[in-house]
Amino acid sequence: MTPPPLRSDPRKRKLVLRTALAGVWSTSFSLLCLFILTGCSRSNDGRVRIVYWEKWSGAEAAAMQQTVDQFNRSQDRIVVEFLSTSGVDRKTLVATAGGDPPDVAGLWVFNLYSFADRDALTPLDDFIRAEGTTPERWLERYYDVYARMCEYRGKIWALPSTPATTALHWNKQLFREAGLDPERPPRTVAELDEFAEKLTKRDPKTGAIARIGFLPQEPGWFSWAFPQWFGGRHWDGRDITIGTDPANLEAYRWVGSYTKKYGLEQVRTFTAGFGGFATPENAFMSGKVAMVLQGVWMDNFIQQFAPGLDYGVAPWPAARPGQENFTVADCDMLAIPRGSKHPKEAWEFIKFISSMNPTAQSEEELRGMELICYLQKKHSPLREWSPYFEQHHPHRYIPLFRELAASPNAISIPKIGIWQEYRRELDSVFENARLLLKPCEEALAFCQQRIGESWARHRRSLERRNVAASVSERNDQPLAHACGYDESRIP
């Protein structure tokens, strides 16, 4: 028996009609939403609206919002819409692949080289030339270490927003308690070890560690740089050298020496009591660790979580004779993803962020780069500072961070398209070294083999797409140089 057709029952017919109507409504509503979300790239007043995704949240995002507002007020052609976006690199990646990226993306340095290798960014060279200057001259305005980060394979892929350098932070109160001169930080690694020993306190009854002078894994964020600190290298421009350069081995042995000295179990129990970084239980801020390697941002957190902390700031202790003002530099970058709808307007915004008012005499007169760096309490990556920025900077140790930014011994991550993978592998070596799981030689040999293979695979992949071939042809240089490696820069 076949069921009677729907038409025969007016109630059912009504139901069908109603469902269909609901369908039409919801479809048009979705289309409307879609239109609102993506359709209009021009704002009501006819200005071009560009979208800027940035990794920051909280106070840092508020600082950038203020700078964005300044840009929006400064001209009547472009409106920047600032969006605080978590996991900004992954989202930019997916959006770029999907053909609908933001016009400006706030990326990390390590994103630049892998994104550039995959042709996911718009080079800025032509925009710079259109300003009537050369890329080289444009970059000269920045401290070397930041300028170097922007350039890769002979092109400029991004420009700095806010920079960082790192330094040794020491707790002066704990120095006093240990009978050390609170104004005299360790200057060499040997002194660092010696001071660390003096600053370490144990419970007289149980022997458990109550305080430690220094620990390579606290916070451990820059452990990838330890090989370079000890005079080694990650690669020589052509081949991976992590397992072949003896200085690298020395660096990781030094890491392990702390565990050997203080005891694996003892250190494990002690470090388990450390709170998260941005909490009052932070190991350094709560006085559990007397010396840490931290960045220019640390003062912000100290003011927030341990306002009374009496601390000093100095360059990393020298691991090699004559190694002065060693520092690991990092930088937040502004790039234009490939497929941006308004690259010219995006460039206008990046150009504004790269600018400053050289005669600023008050906070209101700070402009672009200096405004954002002032609000985030960081130094400016530009060589030229305005009088107000220099004299009224809210970070009391800013002159040191500026000096470090200018240092010839300032290093940053190797410019290699597989850095994220390399970095994870180095973390694994570091873990092996600090937990004494494997001899350092073995861990480094494993890393060498694995990253060596991965590097070969990456180059093969580039060659498949003729990236490497075309670049080396144009530059008339071997691949090593085409990859942006400059041997003279490595300390």
Binding site: E265, I418, R424, E431
Partner: protein
Amino acid sequence: MTPGEKRNLRNGLLFCAPWFVGLGVFTAYPVLASLFYSFCDYSILQSPVWSGIENYQRMASDVVFWKSLRNTLIFTVMALPTGMVVALVLALLLNTGVRGMPAFRTIFYLPSIVPLVASTMLWLWVFNGKFGLLNWFLQPIFALFHASPPAWLGDPNWAKPALALMSVWGVGNTMVIYLAGLQSVPKELYEAAEIDGAGAWRRFWHVTLPMISPVIYFNLIMGIIGTLQVFTQVFVMGGPEGNPARSTLFYALYLFTTAFYDLRMGYASAMAWVLFVIIVVLTLVATKLTEKRIHYAA
């Protein structure tokens, strides 16, 4: 077909069309595309280039891949049986008809509705080697033997057991399914068994277990699929490196970092297909092994 039937068919298909399109565009296409990408050098950002079985070949010699697979299987062996037994025991207890039972059921189910990231953050503190709740209990016991309790997530040897322990916290779903199974066991079977002189244990072994065997089988399969793909907890606890010392580098985590950090989507796609095959094989093995013991009588 009468004109009315034809019209109905047309209308029916029309109403289904959005779902067919959805299934095709958002499920079938990505699945098939990933199979194609697994044979390609593909970074998401550029168009894929055919590279044959290179990705699969590389997997065979990728030590970290094998490590991640081993970690995942070890975790499965630890977490799956524990979770299933605990869930069954809880379900049996919650099926006894004590006063205030709905309240107890709610309480035991509650952890399952806590977002995984939030509960993982909580467990990070439970496992804290120094101030953790767990070691606060264990400290006096270990002190009797002049030893100290493990540092859990700080120790490569204890990180996986810690994760397995934590997974027990989320057995609520499995428990509810058991509970539904238990309630569908006919009362007369218990009565008959009791009249025949069966004690509590025999009633459980000869009545309850066979009657809920399809439910156990279901939970086993879902458990295999779930534990082999575990990601959120390990990502929050051990980070993308699978710290400490790659002891929590699980399959899904390695797949994720390969795809979205290293931009090797081709390799990651190949890994996903291998995982798919592993899950299919394990499911078939589980089905074969339990075939004779499952009774669909109820």
